[in-house]
Symmetry: D2
Subunit: 322 residues, 4 copies
């Protein structure tokens, strides 16, 4: 949007992140872990990690920055990126890009739109995206698209939490209902079991805040070789994913998040949030206690604090030119 020579000052960022970690440690109201899976319910709401990776590849970390957690719904950002790369705008023939105004697992919404999910970040949308990625694969292996992509983005190996996979396999009835309903409308081409198996695995990828912030760099939309058509296309895609994160990324709390934080972001039920400051920074925050919309309570507060202090809202700087 504007000429700019350099990214944010790492030392200033480091001090700010430490301040946020200190303040957060003293916060009594920490939200509650999800009851979606026993393993997640046992999460420790005292944990809190925060990492910023700048457009100049500076890594600034604070708190439990290297503690692993499972990606859960944050994985939907990466599967969407893969589908957009493979299929371009064809993706939108099978998934919408509107906020749903309903909970992430609303089956009513899916029925009233005749199996066409409102956006790729609600569960049925993510299932349809995954169904697209499955095309051409052998059904006797469960592919790990998102894990492979993350490994490529980060340059480190990543594990899948097999306990979470097992637990989720046996507690997935709402998602199976959604998948079957999408299939009844002809909007799922592979077997429900195959889509579910791949879905459960991508939710169970273990990452730390450091790894997640590194993986989010592709959304900053700035590359050195950005004169090439391919690079430009990458940046356009990143921008569009960011638009979806802003309008749909925090479930039924997306409008509130945009109002308070002003940054594109995607949350997961394990307490992680990936946020983007376009052209400037990728941010990962994690704390297992959730608010009433299922987003990390302290993670959201930390992002609000960070956005305010750095003047980072996409809706305008308040100290322009000063």
């Amino acid at each position: 949007m504007a000429d700019r020579e350099q990214g944010p000052d790492p030392q200033r960022l480091a001090r700010l992140l430490e301040d946020i970690v200190s303040e957060t440690a003293e916060t009594a109201e920490r939200g509650e872990t999800t009851d979606y899976l026993p393993e997640l319910a046992e999460g420790d709401v005292e944990q809190f990690g925060l990492v910023v990776v700048t457009c100049e590849d500076e890594i600034v970390a604070a708190g439990d920055a290297d503690e692993p957690f499972t990606l859960q719904s944050i994985s939907k950002v990466f599967s969407l990126a893969l589908a957009l790369e493979a299929y371009g705008d064809e993706v939108w023939e099978r998934v919408g890009r509107e906020p749903s105004g309903d909970p992430y697992n609303s089956i009513t919404d899916l029925e009233s739109h005749k199996g066409y999910p409102r956006n790729p970040f609600i569960n049925p949308g993510a299932l349809v995206v995954l169904d697209m990625l499955l095309a051409g694969r052998r059904s006797d292996e469960v592919p790990d698209f998102v894990r492979d992509y993350l490994v490529e983005l980060i340059g480190e190996d990543l594990a899948i939490d097999e306990n979470i996979v097992q637990s989720q396999e046996s507690a997935n009835f709402t998602n199976r209902a959604l998948a079957n309903l999408a299939k009844s409308f002809g909007n799922l081409h592979h077997a429900v079991d195959d889509v579910m198996a791949a879905y459960v695995r991508q939710c169970a990828i273990r990452v730390s805040c450091r790894q997640l912030a590194l993986a989010g760099r592709f959304l900053i939309a700035e590359r050195e070789d950005s004169d090439s058509p391919a690079a430009l296309e990458d940046e356009r895609r990143a921008r569009r994913i960011a638009s979806l994160m802003l309008t749909c990324g925090q479930y039924d709390g997306s409008g509130n998040f945009a109002y308070r934080v002003g940054l594109p972001a995607k949350s997961g039920v394990s307490g992680g949030i990936l946020a983007v400051v376009p052209n400037l920074a990728s941010i990962a925050v994690w704390s297992p206690g959730l608010d009433e919309n299922g987003n990390s309570l302290l993670g959201t507060l930390a992002l609000e604090r960070l956005s305010e202090a750095m003047d980072w809202s996409v809706f305008g700087a308040t100290r322009v030119g000063r």
Copy 2:
């Protein structure tokens, strides 16, 4: 978000706007006028105006830039601004800030949320906002809050289209249903007739693209005296209104608009759109032909073209530093 000495180049903008006007003139698919009111149905889909006002107060105009049209739902931006100035966050005790996932006049949505409108840009939300503004007024006069505010912002007098007022008075049953339902839940404090009378008048304010773009400057969020607390608060408010425009401003096409254009904007059924490039520019575009979501078809295309050419998406520049 970034240091910057100057706004966009007016001469380059002028050439670009002329190009857009020329291309638009040749577009065959122009949408259809609304059937909401006979006066609006008679609108001329050949008309097209586009005006940009930059952060340095340069006015760049093209096409039917001085042709007046009625504000309709764009008025909701200004009544919200007045309510936020008067009541601050108390506004959110009576209206939400989430995209609704439903049409702008959905009464189902209002009933399922027990009279608490999802956001201030759907009709029931605008009615509740207006109800707040009515507090303390005498009920024997219909106040023109938005007109007075616009006159102050623009420095010119503005007329209210009395034919539209008459027409709307007699065709307003859905809005009356919404107002009565809000009242049944205790979320409308004044008489339905009083709120409706004020609502109809604010929708019928006549502005040109030039006037609307000038009025939109307050959303750019940059003031010369921005060191004062009051100025900072003004900028925060502008930023927050912009966040609501982005998530909820184009009815049930807001996600799509964010994806394609990437700018906060608010549309009206008469074919006008007010868009904001944070810190940089206020844009007004108008063409009476609408798309299937009720937003100006050519207006949206023009904004997409302008955003692309100027690299103006809030979700990131693709040519940073070049």
Copy 3:
């Protein structure tokens, strides 16, 4: 359905009704009065009246049989009868005859069916029926169709409770919302205020159980001169109204009522219920305490007891031929 020489034995009925009144007097759980109107909220849950009028015009009364109460929704049976007499099956072009599966004042239901109410016993259906009756009337007088009809059926004068009329006038926002929404879909031809005024008055007609049971005789569907085509048509109409009472007469508790009591019936929020034993008896019961669906708690219990003791379910006798 079967040959039969005589109606139920009045003396046996009288003993049974006294038993029911005695048992009812000792029942601790009596439901709660509605909070819909202050006047109704003040109702006395100790009151209980029960009257049966047989096909041989025997009147058997017990309890507070002559205490007046307002008709409320029971009036919908009589306005429907008038509309069916005047318009025949044309009524069904503007109102459906299916149970709604939603509360009686659900606006969602009306919106999703585009202003076509599901049946004549939910509020919007009653408003549309009344709109049909208004055709040809002068709008400067509020007609009392139902009162006039009841007076004709009973042969006694009936008052309208003006306090209830006043109270309801000022607390009627949900119904006004429904009327406006119906009008927005073109399914209300008269002014909302005119329809509302007539509606409020028909709800406020004062009747006793004795009067109501007498008025319900027309639903028994047996006339002495039943060989004439007009009489046959009357009986067919009565039968059809009874079918609607059975499927839709107790709001969202109609299925449960059919299961337990097995008789066509229509309830009102003031605690009255009119029930029909086809070919045999008209029954009125009244007690102001309501159950969770808004139907008289003790009234329903009494009808269950009476139906069981007299073997009166339309779904079959258990002691046939004995």
Copy 4:
């Protein structure tokens, strides 16, 4: 409801049924077969069968009375009867008894009622009923509760159409969605696959009109030994099932059916309808062409004609005592 020595006259009935078959043969508008399964889509809309079994066990048959068709949703009457016999009113802790106001396979309805199906005749209700019957069974065999019960009622062996079973197994995504959603709310205790397998089989039972009408005798609610408590309980249960058939038996056309025909009935998508004249007769009709609600078009017309001619509505006779 009334003393009565004898049932309907078989000879008169026989003439009437022949008349109906003749008239039906000349009817041009015959509805369309369902597209739910290829095997059913291929049904012949020229086929029409009608059988009445009286309370005196007279069998009166006409048309294609011995042509077999699959039970489909009519099976729900028999599985409900088994569940009520085994569990009594406990059934209603897991299923409701209200008309749904929504299509038979609406998942929205199930979600909004938190997995508690509105009644046992919509698909999720039937699945929950079946889940109750499965208690205590070994999961490695698929039980045929309804088939066994029908065989007992009729005294003839009945086949299950294995082609329909196969076809339905592979086209059952909506039902699987419903079952999974019920399970996600804790209202399905067995594995989805086990419930689905039993469900598919009960839908695929082959019966003729003659067999179906014989099976329906248990709903007439008159037994020779009806003085015993067990017999009385049987009759009460039959009466209650009949009440559910009347309010919920014809999907979202139940109110209309009650209005026109006035008899408790349950339809299936293969074009069969089982109807009951309490205390007097069990009726089966079959013709594969359906109306817009999924009920047999000619079957409904035939029942309307029969009810009119025999004066059989539960809502009252028009020729009482003549």
